[in-house]
Each structure stands twice: as structure tokens, then as C-alpha cells.
Amino acid sequence: MKQWFFRQGAAMKIMKWMRRDAAAVWIFLAPSAAGFALFYLIPFMMGVFYSFVDSPVDLHFAGLENYRELLASGSFRKAAFNTFYFSAFSVPLILALSLGLALLLNSKLYFRKWLRTAYVLPLVVPVASIVLVWQILFDWNGSVNAWLSGLGVDRMDWMNSEVARYVIMVVYLWKNIGYNVILFLAGLQQIPKDYYETAYVEGAGRLRQFSGITLVYLTPTMFFVVILSIMNSFKVFRETYLIAGDYPHDSIYMMQHYMNNMFTSLDIQKLTAAANLMVGCILLIVMGLFAVERRYRQFME
């Protein structure tokens, strides 16, 4: 009997303790935080440390020497430019295209659900499965060239020229548009219809309605879509790798290629320095986005 009371008491205590937020935070966050620290945070800090020493064995402080060498390296600058160019070009492009598709899909249509499925399907089809078709299309002896020569246009070496960049962009768009379309569709359906009616009564044109209502109320969705699109624009490395291998044409030599190659040649200093510069840029972008989102929220309130 006594024991039972004791147990009951202990259980009550635990329950009470559980109800306090501070304890709950620990229970809910601890598994994730521990693993996150071990596999992401600590490795990242180790990386920062390595970028400032002259070799991972000696551990002599080298100041900014690694960064100076890195910035002097031609292949780094090429990789950084390509990655930046790719994201800066393809993210706005995918935003515009997917918003356009979402707007069309949101108007009166037959088979709307089927169409939506068709747009999303590329997302779930592994690129490794489709690589073969891309190769058949864009090879020197590929089908696109066959069609071009049918039209009397000279063939071009798609994957071994500046155009390769745009071929990869097409793959990126093909794969990721559907996801963004779904997100935008959901955002569009959240906007109350009478806003448009009021605007119409007050004499606002289509364009004015789009910029004054649609874009404003889509901002939270936009925030989410931009973050995911940037993330996916870095992931396009996989497609590039599967299509063009370890040593692609200069125009699609990405930061990830560079870092992989630095890893293979065991140039840890350059790799970590490059990684940190990249993270610095990502941090600026993310902080910018969060700041915009905060301002938007204040504006709406």
C-alpha cells in the first residue's frame, strides 16, 4: 500500500514536471538537438577551425592565408560564379514560371486534377531514371540535334559548351516546378474572392489587382517557395553529376564539384574555406529572407 502511494506520488511529480514547458522543451528537442549537434553543428564548427590552420595535422594558425589562396584559385572562382549564376538566374525564373502555371491552373479548366498530377510527377521520378532520356536528347548525335539539322540548323554540342548551363536549368525547372505550383495554388486559394471584387468595383485593372492583391497575399507562400527553390538549386548538382560526370564542361562546374575535387586531392584547407564562404553567403540570404518576412508580418498587422 505504502509503495503504491509512493509510486503514485512519483508519477504525479513527473506529470507536474512534464507540464512545465522548460522540461517539455528538453524532452522534445533533445533527440534532434543531440544528433543535429553531432552531425551538423560540430562538424560545421570543425570546418571553420580547419579553414584557419595551415594543415589538419600541424594545426598552426594560418590566419586568412587559406582564404587568400582560395580566392586566387581560378577553379574556385569559376565554381563560385557558376553556382551563383545558376541560382540567381534559375530561382527567379522558376518563381515566375510556377506562379504563372499556378495562376492558369487556378482559372476555369477541364481535368484540373490530372494536369496538376502531371506537373508534380517529375518531382517523384528519380533523375537517375531519366538521365538516359536527357542524354539521348542533348548528345552530340542526339535527337535535339537531329531535329535541328532537319530544320537546316547546324548541330551543337549541348553538354560541352556554354549552353550546358541552360540544359541543366531545364532539368531543374522540369523537376521542381510542380512542387512550387502546388504551394502557389494553395496560397492563391487562400485569398478571399471578395478582395478582387472590391478592387474590380473600385476600378482596378487586372495588373493592378495582381500586384496589389495577389502578390501581397502570396508573400508568406513566396517566402517558403524561395527557401525551397534555393535549396533545390544547390541540389541540382546531382543531376549535373548524373548527366555529365565528375568533370563536366566549365559552365556547369559547380561549387560542389570543386569541393568534391578538393576532397579527393585532400586539400582540406581550400575545401573548408570554400565551404565557409558559401555558408556565409547562404546565411546572408536566409537572414535577408527572414527579415523580409518579419517586416511583412508587421505590415499586415
Binding site: R19, P43, V125, V131, L183, A186, I227, N260
Partner: protein, 291 residues
């Protein structure tokens, strides 16, 4: 007027269908070509990848993208599944990599997302920003330290070097937090009044309400890790341990069976998607509405 409306609707549908066809075209081609015989494949796609030979002859020999096989055959499938290739082995490698990551990440992330969305603690938003940061970082950023860490933990050339970081990746937390933000505090307050603790609230209120989010997350994680390329290349030197995604990038040298291999590879993904589509779409939609 009414006729005009119908025409408008039909023509718009037609345009959208044309765009959809563009999206589906590589998938359809892969599927139909998987029923070609090796001979036909060689005949149609022989010139692909042979830059010098084809130009030296002075003729323009092009690969010929064909929609339908002349003769439907299961030859490719037979070769992939029972032939000498390591296809099945790689397939299971993929499964054993992806399944634990999905199960683990869902569990860990759902808990963490609850803390980030429904609990108050100091530095919450700042820590969340750190999570989002790592989500955006390419895998290569922490490659060296991760490699050293895997080495120290004795995980090199073992799938666990990929599975553990996969479980703790931030994407699940991000996605599910986004989702839980929609659940009004009132539900939680009411449950608290009734004497429920946080664990109880989590399992009886939150989990059922984020089911579409969980479904969407399963599909998205499946897609992401089923497609994994960088990690296995670095952490699994032994080709017999590598997953299908890496194997398929090499099988392309062997177009005779590549189409069938590709179809078999995408089938689990596509089936999962079609099965869970309503949930998946709903899940994605709800995640994006509120920031």
C-alpha cells in the same frame, strides 16, 4: 456568350495539357522504350555518345528517339532481374539506406517541430534559423568533418555513415514546424485544462492533425534519399554497398537494359506518390500557406 466561355475553357485546357505533355514526355519515353529488344535499342541509340565515329564518316548519324517499340519484349526486364547484373542487390541497398532514414527522421523531426512551434524557450527563433541554414547547406560543406567523424565512430564504408546524418537532417523539422504553426493554441490550452501533459497532447492532438504533413514528408524524403548520389560516392567505397542511384549512373553505358532498370527504379516512388497523392498535395499545401 456561353459557347465562347466553353471555347475559352477548352483552349486553355489544351494549352495546359500541352505543357503537361512536355513534363511527362521523358517519363513516358523511358517506360515505352523499356519494352524494346536490345537489338532495337542498339539500332536506335547506337550513335549516342560516340562523338568521333559518327562524324568521321562524314555522315550525320543521329540517335533516333522512338516512342513505341516495333516489337514488345520483356527481354530488358529479364536481363535486369535475373541476368548477371547486380541490380537486385543495389535495389536492396537503396531500401536499407532509405527506410531507416525516413522512419528515424520523421520521429525525431516531429518531436523537434513541436518544440519549435508550440513551446516557448529562449533563443527559439535563432536556433531555428541555424536549422534552416544547415538545411540549405550542400552536403559538401561539412564533408571533411563528417568524414573524420565517421572515421572516428568506425562508420566508414558502412551505411550508418549515411543513415545517422540523414535521420538528424533539418528538413523534416522545417516542414513539420511549418505545419504545426497552423494548429491553434486553443486546442493545446484546452487539453492542458483537461490535465493532459505535453506528450499526451503531442500524440493525441498534434500527430493526428499533421498526418497530411507526415505523408508529404515521407514522400519528399523518399524522393530525396532514393536519389542520393554524393553521400554514397564518398562514404561507400565498396561498389557492392552502393545504392541504385549510383549504380544507374553507370548502367547508362549499357543502354540495352538501362530503360528497364530505370523503370523498375522509379516504380516504388511513383506508386507511393499515386497512392498518397491526395495526402501529399494537401500536406504540401498546408505547409506553405502561413509563414
Amino acid at each position: 456568350m456561353r459557347v465562347f466561355k466553353v471555347i475559352h475553357k477548352a483552349s486553355l485546357t489544351l494549352v495546359m495539357a500541352a505543357i503537361a505533355a512536355l513534363f511527362l514526355f521523358p517519363i513516358v519515353i523511358t517506360f515505352t522504350n523499356s519494352f524494346m529488344t536490345a537489338q532495337e535499342i542498339d539500332f536506335n541509340y547506337g550513335p549516342i555518345g560516340q562523338i568521333n565515329e559518327a562524324t568521321e564518316k562524314g555522315k550525320k548519324l543521329f540517335g533516333n528517339l522512338k516512342w513505341l517499340p516495333d516489337q514488345v519484349s520483356m527481354e530488358q526486364y529479364g536481363k535486369v532481374l535475373v541476368g548477371s547484373s547486380n541490380y537486385l542487390k543495389m535495389f536492396w541497398n537503396s531500401v536499407f539506406l532509405v527506410a531507416p532514414i525516413i522512419a528515424g527522421q520523421i520521429l525525431v523531426a516531429a518531436f523537434a517541430a513541436y518544440a519549435f512551434s508550440k513551446l516557448q524557450f529562449r533563443g527559439r527563433d535563432r536556433w531555428f534559423l541555424v536549422y534552416v541554414m544547415t538545411m540549405l547547406m550542400p552536403f559538401q560543406v561539412t564533408l571533411v568533418p563528417n568524414y573524420i567523424m565517421a572515421d572516428k565512430l568506425g562508420l566508414l564504408n558502412s551505411p550508418y555513415a549515411i543513415i545517422w546524418p540523414g535521420i538528424f537532417a533539418a528538413f523534416g523539422v522545417f516542414m513539420l514546424r511549418q505545419f504545426m504553426l497552423h494548429i491553434p493554441y486553443a486546442y493545446i490550452e484546452a487539453a492542458k485544462m483537461d490535465g493532459a501533459g505535453h506528450l499526451r497532447i503531442f500524440f493525441t492532438i498534434i500527430v493526428p492533425m499533421v498526418k497530411p504533413g507526415l505523408a508529404a514528408l515521407v514522400v519528399l524524403l523518399f524522393v530525396d534519399y532514393w536519389n542520393m548520389v554524393e553521400q554514397p560516392l564518398i562514404f561507400l567505397e565498396d561498389p557492392f554497398r552502393q545504392p541504385l542511384s549510383v549504380y544507374l549512373s553507370r548502367i547508362n553505358d549499357e543502354p540495352g537494359i538501362a530503360f528497364a532498370a530505370s523503370v523498375l527504379y522509379m516504380t516504388p516512388m511513383v506508386l507511393l506518390f499515386l497512392y498518397a497523392e491526395t495526402y501529399f498535395i494537401k500536406g504540401i499545401q498546408l505547409s506553405g500557406i502561413k509563414g
